[in-house]
Structures are given as structure tokens and as C-alpha cells.
Symmetry: C2
Subunit: 367 residues, 2 copies
């Protein structure tokens, strides 16, 4: 099967590029001697997980309990569910763990900590720490840290943080600085717990940018990252990788031409690309994605998906619309934010640099 | 089963409100004596289609061939696939039609028109007309209209247009004006075809706002609309319906509290809500959605999802964060753009005003 035989829109995953990204992140972390707990929220695929785990201890991170069930069902048992748990979700976690998984949860809430400790099969838990993102978590110096630890009691296994605000950085220097604040904050939280007599063997931090650029990971026991496997235009803009390292694209067909307005219509719209506008505030605003040729090359310059309707993408070209793009031509679109783009699709068509489909891998979407 | 028993995030569909919306649109069109061809791109559900077809001729509109296959498989055979066709997709359409469906396609491209006519089982086709949206279609006065008709030959059945630019309107007067331009344009295109000796029995127009507000539908043979069944915050902002007529919400759980910043975290983020920002330019900017209580009531005032991460939504309240919203509490979120929000979910949990789940309906996502 070749790309030109595929229905559009669909996801194309270049395994060769992905392998390069995985090796590059592993090398970045091996300098520090710190293992990676890959975040599978982007890929949601067992085949990708196995490749991302090469040379790593074997634990993963997930963003939904559907992912936890899926990966546990495929034999990956050491799972960190990195979204704040609620008491009502503990039964589902307990059931997974009773069936052989070892799902660890996170919380920053005293009442939920109490519910975890009180549950007859309460899982191991990490306390979520806010090291600057200001989304979830308690600050390292917050008195609540020790109160939550007291309530978790024997369930407490450590601390975790996510420097999601690294996405607001715009230079390598920014990333180095944010990574150090993330490291220092999570280590400080662990030290406070230990000084109060609590166990804190797990000191988990990570985001793709800070994992890539951290100058030191001293005191950190593991790093989490996910987007790095595939990359996207936004990550390229913030220097997490090069534009040529984007492994995931959307295959689309040209479905209309407006040469007088330098416009093409493609059959990848807001559902196939997502409505994510991550690059809006980046140096280069890629709209809803950058149109490439069918082989994934930037043949058409700044051909940008400027409007995204449900099933229509409007591509605006900076030069005349190429005559070699009649209705029906296949093109590819590099996404703004690969986690969001992948989520509307149920499978990957896997290539290795060329246009032959060498595998089809399914995804676990939903909740 | 009650809403409080459901895993979050998930879709809640209030059948009573949807039925009211369906009846209201049917009444608006019956004033004109023009039938509705409901667009199933929003609902993607056979149960919803059956309700939307009450009192109508029975044909539907779809936005993907996956929808066409699904609905044909459930016995709805009269289907308009309202996204520009490509030559490569004709085999799939022909196969559907060979199995008993009657899928009509659209095109605005002379080469594709020739391919439709040349295909041994080429489907019936409409020419897409641009009545002001400037997305797809030829203008009613464009010489290309007759060239495309000539190439389609016996496959030509009429014309269609979509006044998607009605979404840019902000008053009922805007909608009335845009609807009349849509009507006049599509009728003019049909008249030009007839004057040149072509068949043009189908004169199809529609968008939810123009379907609702058209002052005349003279010369129009059918109207298409989809969002109206569910409604959303954006449609309410542009006067297509009232805020209380939003039938679709996302059920979520509170997963974090930041009272000092008037913030709550919920487990509905960019995937569960979509990253759609339709209301950004509307009178009221609802961010990524409006948080309601678990029964769907606006108990918390302007509690708006201001940030949407993959699985986290950050709600900002205009007053203090209510004490009766501890971690674990169920809430609901009214979406900006219901077509986009529904697409990440595989099913509807159906209620009838209350919190009892009276049915579960599945959706046909993907392509």
C-alpha cells in the first residue's frame, strides 16, 4: 500500500524520524543518568510505547484512564496517571491494579488524599507540585504539602511536577532557566517531605522542552515527556527540535482551487487538524498547519492553513498556487500541536521516509 | 444510571431540548413550504437523524464518506455528501450506490466534473455555488458554471450553496440579509443552468442561521442545517437560538481548586471541549466554554473555561469559587462550537431534563 492509495484525511507517521527523536531525547537524558518515563498522551499507541521505552526502565505516563487500561492490557504495568485523581475514579484504578497493573495517581487536594488513604485498595500517590505553571499542584513551600502528605500516609511515594509554562519560552536560554526552576522546585518539595519523615523516592519532572534543555537533573529520579516523539510546528518554534524532525503529518487531498486568491481547499479541516492555535503567539504563525508535498517536503514554501472549517482547510500560499496541485492531489500538513491533531484519528499509517505504508498502528482515544 | 455515575469527561445530550430545537427549525421552514435535509455532521448519530427527519422527506446531508456509509447502513439512503468530491473518492461512492444508497456529490472543478461523467457508475452531482462565503464554489455569474455543467452532462442534478459567512453576522438583520443573498445567488445559478438547457431540479442552500432567519425561500428546493439540533454558545451569540436551548454539554469533574485565584480545574480540556474559539470575536467571549452545574443550569454565573490543556480545563469565576464545588464534584460545560466538541467523543449519554440517563447513543467519528 502506498500513501496515494489512502483515504484522506489520515495520519502519516514517519517511523524513521520518530526513532531519531526518541534516540535524541534518550541521549539528552542519559547525559544526566536520569531515566525517562515516556508520556503516551500524544501517541496513545502500544507500538510507539515499545519504541519509546528502548533502554528505559519500562514505566510510562498516561493522561486518561482509558490509556491506563489499554497499556496495562498490552503488558505495560508501571503507569503514572498524571492528571489529578478524584475519589470516584479510585475504584477504576484499584481494579486495574488488582489485575496486575501498578497505576500511581497524583493529587494536590487534602480531601482526595484522605480518600486515597481510606480506599481499601488505594493506589500509590504522588503529590503534584506547582513549579511555575500555575495550573495544578501546591507550591514547594506551601504548608499544604505536608498536610497532604500526612493524609496520604503510607500511600505517598513522592512528588511530580510539569513545567508546562516552558511552552511560553522562546529561546534555549528560557528553557534552561525554566528547567532549572522546575528541578529546584520539585527537589525542594521532596526534601521538605523527607525532612518531615515522609517517603519521597519518586521525584518526577518533565515537559518536552525542559527535558531536552535541562542543564542539571540533580535530585530528580525520572523525567516525563511525550510530544518529543512526534514533534510539531510549535515545538520547532520553541527550539525543542528542528522543523525537519516532525514525524507526524496529516495526509490530505486538494478539493478546490482559487488561484486568483492564492488559495487551495484541502479535505483536512478543524477535525482532522484540530483547532489548536499554538503558534499564534510564536515567531511564525502557522495558522492551523503548514502544507507540505505528498512526501512531506516543504516544496510550497509558506503554504499555511489559514482557516479551518469542520472538514475544509483553506491553504493560502505566499506565491502563486502551483499548477501541479489540481483537485485530487495528495498533500501533507505539518500540525501546530501534534497531541491535539492526532486525537481525531484512530490509526497511524506508518512510513519510513518513502511513500510505502509499512504498518498500520491503532490509537486509544477517548476516556 | 444517573449522571453522577458516569465517567468524566463525557457528552450529555438533553433529548427534550433537542426535540424542541428540531421542532422549532421544522416550523421555521414549514412557513416557506420548503423541506429540510438535516446535516448530520454535528450529531453523527442514527438516533438523532431519525428524530431530525420527523415530517421531512427523508434525505440527509453528510460531511464525510464514513457518515455516508454509516447512515446508508442504517437505512437512510438519500444522502448529499456536501464536501467537494475528488476523482479518487468516486469508487467509494459508486460502491455505496451499488449497495442501495443514492449518494449525491458536489463539485466546483471542471476536471472533477469530467471524472464524474466518465466514471462507469458516476453519481448524481450538484455544482457548488459561492454565494458570499468565499470558501468553495463558483460564483452564480461565473462562466465556469456552464462549463462544469457541460462536463457533468447527465449527472447534473442541480446546485448547492452554504452561506457559512452567516457565522460572521451579529444581528438578526445580518442573517436576514445574508440569507436573501444566499437564496438569490443559488436561484440565479439554477436559472442560468436551466436557460442553457441543463437540469437543475435541486436548489439546495443552508446554514443554521440562514435557515432560521430567511425571509423568503422562493425558488429553493431544500434547506440544509445541522448545528441547530444541539445549539452552542456561538449560535446563541449570533441569535440562532437562546442560550437555554443548548442541548449538548460536556459532563466533567472538578479536579483542582485555586480559590485564591478564582480558579477551578476540571477534567475536560482541549480534547473533550475542542480548542475551538468561535466566541473569540462574539459579543461575549466564552473562552473554551461556560461551566454550568451538574443539572445544566447557569448556577455559577460567568464561570468560563479560560485555558484548555489536553486534559485540563481552567475555569475562571467572576466571583469567589463556590465552596460547594470540592474536588470530585460533577459540573457541565456548554460548548463554543458543538460540532467540534462532540467529535472527540464516541457516544451520547441522553437525558430528558433530569439526571437519569435514558439512553446511550453512539457516534460515527473519523473518515
Amino acid at each position: 500500500m502506498r500513501l496515494d492509495d489512502l483515504p484522506t484525511p489520515c495520519l502519516v507517521l514517519d517511523r524513521a524520524i520518530m526513532q531519531r527523536n526518541i534516540a535524541s531525547m534518550a541521549a539528552a537524558l542519559s547525559r544526566h543518568g536520569v531515566p525517562l518515563r515516556p508520556h503516551m498522551k500524544t501517541a496513545k499507541s502500544i507500538e510507539v510505547a515499545r519504541l519509546a521505552l528502548a533502554g528505559q526502565p519500562g514505566g510510562i505516563t498516561v493522561s486518561t484512564l482509558a490509556e491506563a487500561e489499554y497499556f496495562a492490557g498490552h503488558g505495560i504495568t508501571d503507569i503514572l496517571y498524571a492528571v489529578g485523581i478524584t475519589a470516584r475514579k479510585l475504584d477504576q484504578v484499584a481494579k486495574l491494579n488488582a489485575n496486575g497493573a501498578a497505576v500511581t495517581v497524583i493529587t494536590d487536594d487534602p480531601d482526595t488524599a484522605r480518600a486515597i488513604a481510606a480506599h481499601p485498595a488505594g493506589p500509590r500517590a504522588l503529590i503534584e507540585i506547582d513549579t511555575g505553571e500555575e495550573r495544578g499542584g501546591v507550591r514547594p513551600e506551601d504548608p499544604a504539602l505536608l498536610a497532604i502528605a500526612d493524609r496520604l500516609g503510607g500511600r505517598l511515594a513522592g512528588v511530580m511536577t510539569h513545567a508546562g509554562h516552558s511552552y511560553g519560552g522562546r529561546s534555549v536560554e528560557d528553557m534552561v532557566r525554566i528547567a532549572e526552576a522546575e528541578r529546584a522546585g520539585i527537589v525542594r518539595a521532596a526534601e521538605r517531605l523527607r525532612a518531615a519523615g515522609h517517603a519521597a523516592s519518586i521525584v518526577s519532572m518533565g515537559s518536552s522542552p525542559t527535558a531536552r534543555h535541562a542543564a542539571s537533573l540533580s535530585g530528580v529520579s525520572e523525567v516525563r515527556a511525550g510530544v518529543y516523539m512526534f514533534g510539531d510546528l510549535f515545538q520547532a518554534e520553541i527550539h525543542t527540535h528542528a522543523v525537519g524532525d516532525i514525524a507526524l503529518t496529516v495526509l490530505a487531498s486538494v478539493i478546490g482551487r482559487r488561484p486568483a486568491r492564492n488559495r487551495l481547499l484541502i479535505d483536512a479541516g478543524g477535525l482532522a487538524l484540530s483547532k489548536d492555535r499554538s503558534t499564534e503567539a510564536a515567531p511564525l504563525d502557522y495558522g492551523f498547519g503548514l502544507m507540505l508535498d505528498a512526501r512531506g517536503r516543504p516544496t510550497y514554501g509558506q503554504a499555511i492553513v489559514r482557516h479551518a472549517y469542520q472538514e475544509h482547510g483553506v491553504v493560502e500560499t505566499d506565491a502563486a498556487v502551483p499548477a501541479d496541485l489540481p483537485v485530487g492531489t495528495k498533500v501533507r500538513v505539518a500540525p501546530n500541536h501534534t497531541c491535539m491533531t492526532a486525537a481525531a484519528h484512530d490509526r497511524y499509517y506508518v512510513v519510513e521516509g518513502g511513500d510505502e505504508v509499512v504498518a498500520i498502528w491503532t490509537r486509544v482515544n477517548g476516556w
